[in-house]
């Protein structure tokens, strides 16, 4: 069975993002990581309002500007052009990370290389000798933001489990992840370890267990 058929059976990137968006309460202040997490902004549920924070100094971030309207001095943490909504504010980096470290951001959605059953996250370095290490704001976000959601494919392209007993890649933070959205399932990190919250259509609990590198409990 190839990876591409797996993807068809489970949730798409956009569906994972939509599931995550639905779990964010109205009025939350949200920081979205680079990559799939950015898609979350497209799925704000009807009747809810999120306030987007980008760590490079903007609260009240709006959507991508129209082509031709980009301002190279109005960008997000991924260095892509964004807009500012009415009620936005600009601030410097120390103030921005005071928001993060001080627990003022409600939800952060991040990508992952590995997550362990106790919520450890590895998402910044493969630890390879030749790699250029780059951490950005990930280590600050996982320590400071109240809820850390992860969106990731359940397995690597080569089929290795990304949800593991213990991360083998260098850690971003210890015990920081609360919920994981994969193509196969929504999985909570609980004191007892991974627990399925919801299975993707056509995906069995057994398949999730098989493709997870650590014990997984069924939905409570």
């Amino acid at each position: 069975m190839s990876d591409s058929t797996e993807m068809k059976k489970g949730w798409s990137r956009n569906q994972m993002a939509e599931l995550a968006a639905h779990d964010i309460p109205d009025g939350s202040c949200v920081n979205l990581g680079i990559g799939i997490p950015e898609l979350v902004a497209q799925y704000v549920p009807e009747g809810r309002e999120f306030l987007y924070h980008t760590e490079n100094g903007l609260l009240g971030m709006g959507p991508t500007p129209e082509s031709g309207e980009e301002d190279p001095e109005l960008i997000n943490a991924g260095k892509k052009p964004v807009t500012a909504l009415p009620g936005a504010s600009y601030f410097h980096h120390a103030d921005s990370f005071a928001m993060i470290r001080g627990g003022h951001i409600d939800v952060c959605v991040l990508g992952a290389m590995q997550v362990s059953g106790n919520g450890d996250l590895a998402n910044w370095s493969t630890g390879e000798v030749d790699a250029i290490p780059a951490v950005g704001g990930a280590m600050d976000l996982v320590q400071g933001v109240k809820n850390i959601f992860v969106i990731t494919t359940h397995c690597t392209k080569t089929g290795d489990a990304k949800l593991v007993e213990a991360c083998t890649y260098p850690l971003t933070g210890v015990g920081v992840v609360s919920r994981i959205y994969t193509d196969l399932a929504v999985i909570d990190v609980t004191p007892e370890g991974f627990r399925v919250n919801k299975l993707a259509p056509g995906v069995s609990f057994e398949e999730v267990v098989e493709k997870t590198g650590a014990p997984v409990l069924p939905a409570a």
Binding site: H92, A134, P170
Partner: protein, 235 residues
């Protein structure tokens, strides 16, 4: 106390070999590209540079690095879609890297300017970046001690400056600049506009004048991404 200087070359002329230089900007937003190019022209070498990144293409910060003037980078994210100069030198062992998480980098810079030699942060606890650092428990949670970061010079781009050095910035080009202004012994600023004292609303001043030493006007600064798209390489 008129802090205006005529040219970018004059503004950076006294930066010596071996200096620590903080450079404002997050990617190209807020990068003082004309001051950096003046520093390339000045030829100062063996620099320690503090910036969130390591530059893009072969202009601005990347060009300074590519020109072999930087001994060590202190940054949080030394790669990007357009960065190649730093990775090559790093892999060749020709440049040092101190990797600091972005929020810790910001707070260390602020602490440097605020006279706070060290502080505790939860960031990096339990990760390789905490290795060798003091870990201490407060209220049942572990924190890492981090030292301040200070510099001999800061190179800053702002939107509007008055003669006395009061500054405002433009949108997310603000980023690290206000804290770098306070952490450097000598702060050198390029401003799109220079106005008379009183022309900036005192309620809206982001960097008060006492943190700024030299101001030079660059009315129409080069834009890094445009230079890269045009294939420009500096010098």
């Amino acid at each position: 106390m008129d802090k205006r200087i005529q040219s970018v070359s004059e503004a950076v002329a006294d930066i010596q070999n071996g200096s620590t230089v903080m450079i404002g900007g997050f990617g190209e937003a807020g990068s003082p590209i004309e001051l950096i190019h003046a520093l390339i022209d000045s030829g100062a070498r063996n620099l320690t540079v503090v910036n969130n990144n390591t530059g893009n293409g072969e202009v601005g910060l990347a060009a300074l690095i590519g020109n072999g003037q930087v001994r060590k980078m202190i940054c949080s994210y030394p790669r990007s879609s357009h960065s190649k100069v730093f990775p090559e030198l790093y892999r060749a062992g020709k440049i040092e890297l101190e990797l600091v998480p972005q929020g810790t980098l910001a707070e260390r810079i602020r602490a440097g300017g605020a006279g706070i030699p060290a502080f505790y942060t939860p960031t990096t606890v339990g990760t390789p970046l905490a290795e060798g650092k003091e870990v201490r428990e407060f209220n049942g949670r572990k924190y890492v001690m981090e030292p301040w970061l200070q510099a001999d010079y800061a190179l800053i781009k702002c939107e509007t400056a008055d003669h006395a050095g009061n500054l405002t910035y433009n949108k997310t080009a603000r980023n690290f600049s206000p804290i770098m202004c306070i952490a450097a012994t000598t702060t050198i600023v390029q401003a799109r506009k220079i106005v008379a004292p009183g022309d900036i609303d005192p309620e809206c001043v982001v960097t008060p004048g006492l943190f700024v030493d030299r101001i030079v006007q660059v009315a129409e600064p080069l834009q890094e991404s445009k230079l890269i798209a045009e294939g420009v390489s500096y010098p």
